[in-house]
C-alpha cells in the first residue's frame, strides 16, 4: 500500500506543477490536422438531431456546413473536413477546453457568466424559456410551477433559473433533452423546461405531437451563440464573418425557411424584431 500511495502523491505533485500549454491557435490546429470538429446535439430537433433515416442533420449543422466551413477552407487555402461530436449542456464546455472540439454549434445560450470560460460568436438565434407539458395539465407557466416536478438539462441556463427563481419546484436534471423528454412522457416529471423553439421542435417530432403543449410566457431571454475557446480572435473573426455573410446574402434566411418555414420541419415564424436584430449584427465591411 505504501508504494502505491507514494506513486500517487508523486503523480499528483507532478501534475500540480505543470501547466499544459500549447501556443497553437484553433486555425493553426485545423490547418494542421485538416479537420474542423464541432460539438453538436443528437436530440434537439431541428437544430441538431438524428432524423428518421438515422442521419445527423439540423439547422445549426447546416449553418456550419454552408457558411463557416467554406470560409475556413478558403482562409486556410485547403479543403477542410467537418467532423461532428455529440455534445450536451454538461459536456460542451469541457469538450471545448480539452480541445476535443473547436466550436460548439448547437443551442447554447450566450450568458455573461459563460463568457468567463468561453467566447461566443454573434447571436444566431434568439428565443426564451418556456415549458412543455401534457396537453390539459393545469400548469400554465412559471407562476404555476411551484411544487411541481420539473425536468431540465443538467448545466442549462433553464435549470439555473428554475433553481434560483422557484426554489420550491422539484427540479430534476437530466444529461440531455431526450432523457428529460422521456421523463415527461413517463410522468416522472410534470413539465420540461427548455427554450421555446426547442420545445416546439421536440413536440413536432414526438411520436404523438398532439399530446403536448408549449405553455407560458418566455421567462428568460435566450440568445444562441456558437461557443469557442477564449483568446482566439482570428478564429472568432472567421466564424463571425461567416455568420454575417450568411445573414447578408440571405443564406441564413433560406436555411431558416428550410427548417422553420411553413413547409419546414418545425414551423416557427421568425419574429420581425428577431430578423431586424440579426440583420443589425452585420457590421459594414
Amino acid at each position: 500500500m505504501k508504494p502505491m500511495l507514494l506513486l500517487l502523491t508523486t503523480l499528483i505533485a507532478i501534475a500540480g506543477s505543470i501547466t499544459v500549454s500549447r501556443g497553437e491557435t484553433t486555425l493553426e490546429k485545423i490547418s494542421q490536422t485538416g479537420i474542423f470538429t464541432i460539438g453538436t446535439r443528437t436530440g434537439s430537433p431541428p437544430f441538431a438531431y438524428v432524423n428518421r433515416n438515422n442521419e445527423w442533420v439540423g439547422f445549426s449543422i447546416d449553418l456550419v456546413e454552408t457558411s463557416i466551413l467554406p470560409l475556413i477552407s478558403k482562409k486556410l487555402n485547403k479543403q477542410i473536413k467537418l467532423e461532428k461530436k455529440e455534445s450536451a449542456p454538461n459536456t460542451r464546455i469541457p469538450l471545448l477546453t480539452s480541445n476535443a472540439v473547436d466550436l460548439i454549434a448547437e443551442t447554447m445560450t450566450d450568458t455573461q457568466s459563460r463568457r468567463e470560460q468561453v467566447d461566443f460568436s454573434l447571436t444566431f438565434f434568439a428565443t426564451g424559456a418556456q415549458f412543455l407539458v401534457k396537453k390539459g395539465t393545469p400548469i400554465k407557466g412559471i407562476q404555476t410551477i411551484a411544487g411541481k416536478r420539473v425536468a431540465a438539462q443538467q448545466g442549462s441556463t433553464n435549470a439555473k433559473i428554475i433553481r434560483e427563481r422557484v426554489p420550491n419546484a422539484k427540479l430534476l436534471e437530466f444529461p440531455d433533452q431526450p432523457a428529460a423528454f422521456q421523463a415527461l412522457v413517463q410522468g416522472q416529471v410534470q413539465a420540461y423546461t427548455n427554450d421555446g423553439i426547442q420545445l416546439a421542435g421536440l413536440k413536432a417530432k414526438a411520436p404523438k405531437p398532439d399530446d403536448w403543449a408549449v405553455v407560458g410566457e418566455f421567462f428568460s431571454y435566450e440568445p444562441y451563440g456558437m461557443a469557442m475557446r477564449k483568446n482566439d480572435s482570428d478564429f472568432r473573426q472567421v466564424v463571425n464573418l461567416a455568420l454575417m455573410e450568411a445573414i447578408e446574402s440571405g443564406q441564413y434566411f433560406r436555411l431558416y425557411d428550410k427548417w422553420f418555414g411553413p413547409k419546414g420541419e418545425v414551423p416557427y415564424p421568425l419574429a420581425p424584431d428577431t430578423k431586424r436584430f440579426l440583420q443589425l449584427q452585420v457590421i459594414p465591411k
Partner: protein, 226 residues
C-alpha cells in the same frame, strides 16, 4: 408493445451499432475485437512483468494492475476522453479514445490471467529448461508461455466476453455502438421496452454463445493433461 420500431431500424441497429458500418463512428465489434487483441498483448507484458525479479519491473506492473482494478471503467473512459485531447493538443475521434481506454484498462485484467497462467505451469518445467541450458528469456518463450497459454484460454475467453459487454460503456462518450444506436432510436421514437429488450437479446446471444464455447474448450483442453 410495438416491435415495428425494431424492424424499421434494424439496419441501423445492427449494421451501425453492432458492426460499425455507417455514417457515425461506432460499432461494438469494431471496438471489441481490437481491444481484446491489443489488450491481451499488453496484458502479456504486464503479466510477465509482475513475475519479474527486478523491482524496477515488477513494482510498476503491480501498481498498474492494482490501480486499474481499483477504479471504475467509466472513470477511466472519462480520463481518456478529457485528458488525451489536452495532452495531444488535438481532438480525437471517440473511437480512438474508447479503444485506448479499453486496451489500457483491460490489459490489467488480462495481465492477471497471464500471470495466473504462467504460475500454473509446474516449476519443474522451468527448472528442466534451465538444466538443458536455456536462458530465462528462452525458457519463457519456448517452454513456459506455450503451456501457460493453453491453461489460460478459458479465462481469456471469459475476459473477452466481459470486454464485449463493457464496450457498451463507450456509448457514454457518444460512440455509436449497439447501446448508443438503441438510445438514438429511442430518443426519437420513445419505445424503450422494445429497443432495450432487443439489444439485450443481441448481447445475450453473443455472450452466452461465447461462454458455451469457452466451456466446451475447457472440457476439451482438460482431457489432455500436460
Amino acid at each position: 408493445m410495438d416491435f415495428a420500431v425494431i424492424t424499421n431500424n434494424i439496419g441501423f441497429l445492427i449494421f451501425q451499432g453492432f458492426f460499425g458500418l455507417g455514417n457515425f463512428t461506432g460499432g461494438t465489434l469494431r471496438l471489441a475485437v481490437p481491444a481484446i487483441i491489443l489488450g491481451f498483448l499488453l496484458g502479456v507484458f504486464i503479466g510477465i512483468g509482475r513475475l519479474a525479479r527486478s523491482r524496477w519491473i515488477h513494482l510498476p506492473a503491480t501498481l498498474y494492475v492494482e490501480f486499474f482494478r481499483g477504479v471504475p471503467l467509466v472513470m477511466v473512459i472519462f480520463w481518456f476522453w478529457f485528458i488525451i485531447p489536452v495532452l495531444l493538443g488535438k481532438s480525437l475521434p471517440e473511437y480512438s479514445v474508447a479503444l485506448a481506454a479499453f486496451i489500457i484498462f483491460e490489459a490489467a485484467y488480462f495481465g492477471e490471467i497471464v500471470r495466473a497462467g504462467i504460475q500454473s505451469v509446474p516449476r519443474g518445467q522451468a527448472e528442466a529448461a534451465t538444466a538443458t541450458g536455456l536462458t530465462r528469456a528462452q525458457t519463457m518463450r519456448y517452454v513456459i508461455l506455450p503451456q501457460a497459454l493453453r491453461n489460460m484460454i478459458p479465462s481469456l475467453l471469459t475476459q473477452s466476453i466481459v470486454l464485449l459487454k463493457d464496450t457498451s460503456l463507450a456509448s457514454i462518450i457518444g460512440y455509436v455502438d449497439l447501446t448508443k444506436a438503441a438510445q438514438i432510436v429511442n430518443n426519437r421514437e420513445i419505445r424503450p421496452f422494445e429497443l432495450y429488450l432487443f439489444i439485450a437479446v443481441i448481447y445475450w446471444l453473443c455472450s452466452y454463445g461465447m461462454s458455451r464455447y469457452a466451456r466446451h474448450l475447457e472440457r476439451r483442453l482438460a482431457v489432455n493433461p500436460v
